[in-house]
Structure formats: structure tokens, C-alpha cells
């Protein structure tokens, strides 16, 4: 009993320190990205411009024909995709022969409050795809977008379908009329302009508070109890530390994109209704004709699976399917099960579609 209390209090104090460090980083402008843990897979920055740093990961063994561009979310840092050698989506895919390109977004500063979907999609993502085309010597790339990155890549694919060979949205928050997450009631009633008028961008500490409020019991107590109960499991403590570091790596969200996301997508559900406009163009999801594998976590408590599923019906691809994996929002990228079963399946699907002409 004494050991339990001692271990718990020590883990809780470490957690409190990490939370405070996360808040400190969130209050620093610009966000200190150099505090990311050392990467597991070596990469090379092949492009930097706008708010994008494009990383290239060399394939292992015989390379696949089509390179894969991973579009990461604008929320938190992307090192969750490359946490440990045995727990890295990037390492998993490079081992399967894919040349990986990752959008490592540069956190916005007070000079970037104007940045909306137009700047991120028609600016940065267009530049990313052009760079990949040139670097890999291809006309088309495969796109994989995670969470908010899934939204960005869905919009990109609808705007520039000719450049996308295969499309894999991963836990994409698309149809907000079906977002059955309790805290979402609060987002529905919020005026995003008030927040951006006060702070310019949506500060990192507000993003962090929002995510922690999704499951307060877990963040305040249960994860530490979980650490105590699993401390004998090999590698669990190291994994916990790295994961917690990622949980506290929130970055600010540019003012304009925060307003568009909250008002147009979350509150009015314009993207699913075919009325969302980016750079003066209406996003018509019917323009997506390439093969699509819609991957979602069955127990996702950040993006409800019901919010991701409708994408399959809204696009006009003939080759499209949903892949529901029994895990949560983050489990799709870090769980042992996902590394052993989900990512080999994703790789196999991509390989199958690699040589098919569309």
C-alpha cells in the first residue's frame, strides 16, 4: 500500500512537471520545436517554406513506385509517428519499401494569425506535393492524412485530384453532425472570433486544456495508476514518458484556420454538406476519384468513428473502403496491435494499388 502511494505520488509529480513544461512551451513564442525528443528514423529536410518543413525518410530495401506523403495535424508535434524503433509508423512504412515524406508544420507566431485553410492547402500542401513530385520524379503521390491532417489532405485531394494516386484518411473529423463526443457541446456554443480577438492565434495552452478536458479522470489520475500497474511490462515506462512528452507538445493554431475549423466545419458542418470554401473555391468531395482507404479507430474518443465513416459515401471513387481497427484515436499510430496488424494492412493496400493505372 505504501509502495503504491509512493509510486503514484512520484508519477503524479512527474506528470505535473511535464504539464507545467508543456504550458511553458505553449506560452513561448515561437514554439520551441527543438525540444522534440531525438527522432528514431533518420530524415532529411528537403524543403522549407511558409509554415512547412518537409522531411524525407529513405525507403528500406526495394522501393515502391509511388512515394507516400504523410500530412500530419496542425495540433501537437509529429514525433508521435516516430516514437520508438518498434513503435514507429514511419519506420514501419519505410521497412515496407515506401519513400516517406512528412509535413512537419512550423508552429504559427503572432505574424501568422491570417493563415487559414487557403494558406495551408493552396500554399503549403501544394508546395509539399510539388517538392515530392520533383524529388521522387513522379507525377502522382499517395496521401495519408492523420486527424486534422486528414481534413487538410481531403480538401487538397478534392482541389487537386490529378496529383493524388491513392488517398488514406486516418481518423478524419469530417461529418460534424455525427460527432458524438460530450465536450463537443461546448465547442458548438463557442464564438471562435472572441478567442482570436483576444489572443490572435488559438494558444497552445487552450488546445491542451481542451484535450485534457476530454477525459479529465484519465489525465488527473488513471494514467498514473495505469503506469503503476504496468510498470513490470518491458518498455512500458519508457513508452509512457515519450507518450506524455507528446501529450504536452501542443502548439498554437493560427487564428484564421481556428475560426474556419470551429465555425464552418464544427458548428455548420459545411464540408460534409459540400458548401465549404477554400480560397474562393467550393470543396466538392465528388471530385475525389482515386482509390481510398478510410482508416478509423473503433473506440476513438477524439474523433467519433461516425464522423469519419460518411466520407466513403461522399466521394465518387469506385475503389473505396473503410478499415475499422479496434483501437482509439492515438492507438491507430502507437499501439503494438496497430504496428503488427494495421500498418502492414495499410502497406499491403498501398502496394496493391501502386502499379494499377487509374
Amino acid at each position: 500500500m505504501f509502495n503504491l502511494l509512493q509510486d503514484l505520488s512520484s508519477a503524479w509529480l512527474n506528470g505535473a512537471v511535464r504539464t507545467l513544461e508543456g504550458l511553458r512551451r505553449g506560452l513561448t513564442s515561437p514554439f520551441p520545436v527543438y525540444e522534440d525528443p531525438s527522432p528514431t528514423t533518420p530524415s532529411q529536410v528537403i524543403y522549407e517554406g511558409g509554415k512547412l518543413r518537409l522531411r524525407y525518410y529513405r525507403p528500406v530495401g526495394r522501393p515502391q513506385a509511388t512515394p507516400l506523403l504523410l500530412v500530419y495535424a496542425l495540433i501537437k508535434r509529429p514525433f508521435i509517428l516516430d516514437l520508438q524503433p518498434s513503435n514507429s509508423v514511419i519506420a514501419n512504412l519505410t521497412r515496407q519499401g515506401f519513400a516517406i515524406y512528412l509535413t512537419d508544420w512550423i508552429p504559427p507566431t503572432q505574424a501568422d494569425t491570417w493563415r487559414g485553410f487557403d494558406a495551408y492547402v493552396n500554399g503549403d500542401l501544394v508546395n509539399a506535393v510539388s517538392t515530392v513530385q520533383e524529388h521522387a520524379g513522379v507525377d502522382q503521390v499517395s496521401l495519408l492524412g492523420y486527424c486534422f491532417g486528414g481534413l487538410l489532405s481531403t480538401i487538397y485531394t478534392a482541389l487537386y485530384p490529378e496529383t493524388v494516386k491513392n488517398f488514406i484518411p486516418l481518423s478524419v473529423p469530417l461529418d460534424m453532425s455525427k460527432q458524438d463526443i460530450p465536450l463537443f457541446n461546448l465547442v458548438k456554443q463557442m464564438d471562435p472570433s472572441l478567442l482570436t480577438d483576444a489572443f490572435g492565434n488559438c494558444p497552445a495552452w487552450i488546445m491542451k486544456t481542451g484535450f485534457s478536458s476530454l477525459s479529465p479522470v484519465h489525465h488527473a489520475l488513471d494514467k498514473y495508476v495505469g503506469l503503476y500497474r504496468s510498470k513490470e511490462r518491458e518498455g512500458y515506462t519508457e513508452m509512457f514518458e515519450l507518450f506524455e512528452r507528446w501529450m504536452n507538445s501542443d502548439v498554437p493554431l493560427a487564428g484564421q484556420i481556428f475560426r474556419e475549423l470551429t465555425r464552418d466545419l464544427f458548428q455548420h458542418n459545411l464540408l460534409a454538406q459540400g458548401q465549404f470554401q477554400v480560397g474562393g473555391q467550393t470543396i466538392d468531395l465528388q471530385r475525389i476519384t482515386c482509390p481510398m482507404l478510410n482508416v478509423l479507430g473503433e473506440y476513438d474518443d477524439v474523433v467519433h468513428p461516425q464522423a469519419s465513416l460518411p466520407l466513403t459515401d461522399l466521394i465518387s471513387s469506385h475503389d473505396k473502403r473503410n478499415l475499422v481497427f479496434p483501437t482509439g484515436h492515438i492507438g491507430v499510430v502507437v499501439s503494438g496491435g496497430a504496428q503488427k496488424k494495421l500498418w502492414p494492412q495499410v502497406g499491403a493496400w498501398l502496394k496493391k494499388h501502386d502499379h494499377v493505372l487509374h
Binding site: 515561437p30 522549407e48 460530450p182 457541446n185 456554443q189 463557442m190 472572441l194 483576444a198 479522470v217 500497474r229
Partner: protein, 163 residues
């Protein structure tokens, strides 16, 4: 959905009640008397803990779902943000005037400069190789320039001497 949630809540309440009042005391007594193992007692206790956590999480979810809570929370947030804006405006006006009078740069100006320095630092750190090449080029340029300047000086002196 609501029915499933209700069933889960009832199950959790039953588990907590049963574990705390029957299973845990029984396992404790058995352990004390040397009949049962410590592991059995611990597992029983964790069962009650897991049910309590599920119950607490479900209660918080229900709170978030209630229209009254979301109304109160959004109103509080709106008021807080309005006051934040007023605070920003007041401190911006009063303090900027004060700093100007004292001849001290404002926090925004210092932050702006600091942002620029940091951005340059990051860019330089990433372009270390380029920087090294540039430094080598600069060294070469100095070496190349040095004799030419000497030649120029000598030539100039020769011209003056001739004059």
C-alpha cells in the same frame, strides 16, 4: 446508446458495492488468515477501482452533455475572453505610453526582436553546412583580396613615386 450507457453504469455501481462490502473484506480476511493470496486481494481492489473510474468518467460525460453545463461554461468563457480583450487593450495603451515616456522598449517590441533572432538562429542551425561553406569562401576571398590590395598599394605608391 443511452440504454447501453445506463446498463454499464448499473453494472459499475453493482461491482463497486459488491467489491467494497463483500469481496474485498472476504479476500482481506482470507489473506490475513493465510488461506488466500495477496494477489487475490489486490485484483479485487483493482476491480473496484476500475469500476469507479468508469463511473466517474461517465458522470463527467453526462455533465458535458447537459445543456445547462454547456450554456454556463460557454457564457463563462465568453465573459473571460471579453475581459481578456479589455485587459489587453488597457495594458497595451497604458503600458505602451509609460514605456515610451521612460524610453524603454515595449514587451511586444522585445518579443518581436526575440522572434526574429530565434527564427534566424533556427535557419542558421539548419544551414550549418551552407554556413561552413560560406565561411570557407569568405576566408578564400580575404586571402585572394590580400595580395591584390598589396599590389594595388604598391602600384599606387609606384605611380606616386613616378609623379
Amino acid at each position: 446508446m443511452a440504454e447501453k450507457q445506463m446498463t454499464q453504469t448499473t453494472e459499475d455501481l453493482t461491482t463497486i458495492y459488491k467489491t467494497l462490502f463483500f469481496d474485498l473484506p472476504l479476500a482481506g480476511v482470507k489473506w490475513g488468515m493465510g488461506i488466500g493470496a495477496e494477489k487475490e486481494t489486490t485484483e479485487t481492489a483493482w476491480k473496484a477501482y476500475d469500476a469507479s473510474v468508469r463511473l466517474a468518467a461517465s458522470a463527467i460525460d453526462n455533465l458535458y452533455r447537459s445543456p445547462l453545463f454547456s450554456q454556463v461554461a460557454s457564457r463563462t468563457l465568453t465573459d473571460a475572453l471579453r475581459w481578456q480583450r479589455v485587459g489587453n487593450a488597457v495594458s497595451g495603451t497604458v503600458l505602451t505610453g509609460l514605456w515610451r515616456t521612460l524610453g524603454v522598449p515595449t514587451a511586444a517590441e522585445v518579443q518581436g526582436l526575440s522572434d526574429q533572432v530565434r527564427a534566424l538562429e533556427t535557419r542558421l542551425a539548419q544551414k550549418k553546412d551552407v554556413q561552413a561553406v560560406l565561411e570557407q569562401l569568405r576566408t578564400l576571398q580575404v586571402r585572394l583580396n590580400a595580395p591584390s590590395q598589396a599590389q594595388y598599394r604598391n602600384g599606387h605608391l609606384e605611380e606616386r613615386a613616378a609623379a
